[in-house]
C-alpha cells in the first residue's frame, strides 16, 4: 500500500504548511463584539437599524467620491501631459481612462478602442458594456452595472459576478486553447469604481493554441450571484492596431540547471507582450522558489514596466515552462529592452513564507546570469 514516494508526502505537507501560514493579520475582536452587540440591540429596536443603514450609505457615497478624485489626481502625477487631457474628461468618463492600466488609457486616448452601449437586464440588474479593445495580444472589455441605488450598489461588481463564459463567433473560447488543461483564463481587473470592472483574456497562440481572428463577434454570458439566468451580451471586436513591433530574438542564458530563453516580444500601443521559455536541463520538475519566478522588464533608461497579467504552462514532461507575460506599453519604442529574471526569497524558518522588506513587500533576488538585454532597431 505504501508505495508512494516520500517526496510526494512532503509536497503535500508543504502545501498544508503554506495554507497554515498564509501571511495575514487578522484582528476581528472588536468588530465581532460590536457586531454581536448590534445584533442584540437590533432585536430590541428595529428603527435603530434603519438609522444606521442610512448613515452607512452616506458614508459610502462620500468615500467613493473621494476615491474617484484621488485617482484623477494621481494619474496626473504619472504623466504631465495628462494635465491637458484631464480637462477634457467628460462627466461620464471612460472605464479605460480611469482604471489605472496605462495601456487601456492609451487605447482610449488614441481612439483605438471601440465605445459601445450594449446592455442586458435580468431581474432588475442591468449590465452594460461600454468599451472594448483588442490589440492582437489581449481583449479588454469595460463593463459596468447601471444601478446606482438599492441592494446592488453595496458590493463591487466583481464580487457580484460569479462566472463569465465567452464565445467567439459562437464557439467557446476554450476551443482556441492548446488542450483541455491549458485553458484560457478570464481575468477581472478593477474598473474606475465599484460599479465597473475590466474583463480581459488572451489567446494561447504562443503555447500551441489557435490565434483569435482579427475580427469577431464576442458573446459574454455573465452570471450574477443571486440571479438565475446569465446576462448575455454580444459585442463586435476588431483589432485596430496597424503597426506592431514583433521580435523573436530566441536569445538564451544558462545558469546552473536553468536554460532561459526570450522567445518573443510584441509591442503594441496597448500592451507589451513577452513570451519566455524555461527548461530545467537536468530534467527535474519545477519546485519552489522556481515556481514563483518572474521577470522585470526595463527600457534603456531603467524605467520598469508594470505587469498586467500573464500565464505559464508546463507541458507533460514537467521540466519545460512557457510563460506569456503582458505588461503596459512603453511610452515610445525604447533603444533596448532588458529582461531581469528573479526569484522570491523564502523565509528559512517558516517554510513557504516570503521574506518581507521594510515596505512589507516580498523580497526578490535577481538572477544576473539569466539577464538579457535586447537592442531594438525599430524594424517595422
Amino acid at each position: 500500500m505504501n508505495t508512494r514516494l516520500k517526496s510526494e508526502d512532503k509536497e503535500l505537507e508543504r502545501l498544508e504548511k503554506l495554507i497554515r501560514e498564509t501571511p495575514v493579520e487578522v484582528d476581528l475582536v472588536n468588530r465581532t463584539m460590536s457586531k454581536y452587540e448590534d445584533n442584540c440591540m437590533s432585536k430590541q429596536s428595529a428603527s435603530f437599524k434603519t438609522h444606521k443603514k442610512m448613515r452607512q450609505r452616506v458614508i459610502m457615497m462620500t468615500v467613493s467620491a473621494a476615491i474617484l478624485f484621488g485617482l484623477i489626481f494621481v494619474t496626473s502625477l504619472i504623466s504631465p501631459t495628462m494635465a491637458a487631457t484631464i480637462k477634457q474628461v467628460p462627466v461620464l468618463s471612460s472605464i479605460f481612462e480611469l482604471a489605472g492600466d496605462l495601456g487601456l488609457k492609451a487605447a482610449d486616448d488614441k481612439g483605438l478602442s471601440t465605445k459601445l452601449h450594449t446592455s442586458a437586464t435580468q431581474d432588475g440588474f442591468t449590465l452594460n458594456v461600454s468599451e472594448v479593445v483588442y490589440d492582437g495580444t489581449r481583449v479588454s472589455i469595460g463593463m459596468e452595472r447601471l444601478q446606482t441605488e438599492g441592494e446592488f450598489s453595496k458590493e463591487t461588481l466583481s464580487d457580484r459576478i460569479s462566472d463569465i463564459e465567452l464565445f467567439i463567433d459562437g464557439n467557446p473560447i476554450n476551443s482556441f486553447a492548446p488542450n483541455d488543461s491549458n485553458s484560457i483564463d478570464v481575468f477581472m481587473h478593477p474598473g474606475k469604481d465599484k460599479a465597473s470592472v475590466i474583463v480581459e483574456f488572451s489567446d494561447r497562440s504562443n503555447q500551441g493554441g489557435n490565434s483569435f481572428p482579427e475580427q469577431f463577434d464576442l458573446t459574454l454570458a455573465t452570471t450574477i450571484s443571486g440571479i438565475d439566468n446569465p446576462l448575455n451580451i454580444n459585442i463586435p471586436v476588431k483589432n485596430k492596431i496597424e503597426d506592431y513591433v514583433t521580435l523573436q530574438p530566441k536569445v538564451s542564458r544558462q545558469y546552473e540547471n536553468i536554460h532561459f530563453t526570450v522567445e518573443q516580444i510584441k509591442l503594441t500601443p496597448i500592451t507589451t507582450g513577452i513570451t519566455t521559455k524555461m527548461v530545467l536541463t537536468d530534467n527535474t520538475t519545477f519546485t519552489l522558489p522556481l515556481t514563483t519566478m518572474g521577470i522585470d522588464v526595463l527600457d534603456d533608461q531603467g524605467r520598469q514596466l508594470k505587469l498586467i497579467n500573464g500565464n505559464g504552462w508546463t507541458p507533460s514532461n514537467g521540466s519545460t515552462k512557457v510563460t506569456d507575460y503582458r505588461y503596459i506599453p512603453f511610452d515610445s519604442i525604447p533603444k533596448t529592452i532588458t529582461i531581469k529574471p528573479y526569484i522570491h526569497l523564502f523565509d528559512e524558518k517558516e517554510m513557504g513564507a516570503f521574506q518581507m522588506d521594510e515596505n512589507n513587500e516580498p523580497k526578490i533576488q535577481y538572477i544576473p546570469e539569466l539577464e538579457i538585454t535586447l537592442p531594438i532597431n525599430s524594424q517595422k
Binding site: L15, K35, G100, S181, S183, M188, G310
Partner: protein, 198 residues
C-alpha cells in the same frame, strides 16, 4: 498562534476556564476566545469562500454564533472541534446560497479593487494556493484545510464533517493524488494588480 506540544494540555485547560467564564455570564472573556482562534478560522473561511471580504464577514458571524450558543456547549468534544463545526456549517450555508446548482468554484481569477493597494507578490502567494485548491471538490478542500490549519487527525476531521473516518482517509488519498499529479502537469497563472502612482 501555534502552541508548542508541551503546553498543549495547558492550553486546553486555559480554554476550558475561559469557556466556563463565558458560560457563567462573563461575555468579555469571549474576546480571548476570538483572539486565539480568529486567524485559523479566517484562513479556513478564506480558502473555502475565496474572498477576503467574505472570509472576514463569515469569521465574525461564526464567533457570534459561537457566543450565542455557548451555553449549549458541553465537553463531549473539544471546544475547537465545536467551533470548527459551526464554521463548517456556516460556510456550507454561504456556499449553497451563493452558488445554486453545482457550480461551486469560479473558473476565473478575481482581482478586487481593494487588492490594488496590496503587494503584487502577496497576491501571487495566495493565488498559487487557490489554484491548487480549485482542483478539489468541496469535501476534499475541507479535509485538506482542517488538516492543514488545525492539524486534526482523520478521526477528529471525520467527527467535524460528520463522516466515517475511513471515508475521510479515502478522500484524503484521492485529493493527494489529484494535487501531486496536477503539480507536475499543470498551468500557472500570474495576475498582478496595478498600483496607481506606485
Amino acid at each position: 498562534m501555534t502552541e508548542p506540544n508541551k503546553s498543549k494540555e495547558n492550553t486546553h485547560l486555559v480554554i476550558k476556564s475561559i469557556v466556563e467564564q463565558v458560560q457563567s455570564g462573563n461575555g468579555q472573556a469571549y474576546t480571548e476566545i476570538i483572539r486565539r482562534f480568529q486567524k485559523k478560522i479566517y484562513i479556513y473561511c478564506y480558502y473555502l469562500l475565496g474572498s477576503k471580504e467574505e472570509a472576514e464577514d463569515a469569521t465574525q458571524d461564526i464567533f457570534i454564533k459561537g457566543l450565542e450558543n455557548i451555553k449549549s456547549f458541553s465537553y463531549r468534544v473539544s471546544f475547537s472541534a465545536w467551533l470548527y463545526k459551526i464554521a463548517h456549517h456556516h460556510c456550507m450555508d454561504l456556499i449553497k446560497k451563493k452558488h445554486k446548482g453545482n457550480r461551486f468554484w469560479i473558473s476565473f481569477k478575481k482581482n478586487h479593487a481593494k487588492d490594488q493597494f496590496h503587494g503584487r507578490e502577496e497576491y501571487r502567494y495566495q493565488d498559487f494556493i487557490h489554484e491548487l485548491l480549485e482542483k478539489l471538490s468541496v469535501d476534499e478542500r475541507r479535509i485538506l484545510l482542517l488538516r492543514a490549519i488545525v492539524e486534526y487527525s482523520f478521526d477528529e476531521n471525520a467527527s467535524i464533517m460528520e463522516l466515517k473516518p475511513a471515508t475521510v482517509r479515502k478522500k484524503y488519498e484521492r485529493l493527494r493524488k489529484k494535487l501531486i499529479e496536477d503539480k507536475k502537469i499543470g498551468g500557472e497563472i500570474h495576475e498582478h494588480s496595478f498600483k496607481i502612482g506606485g
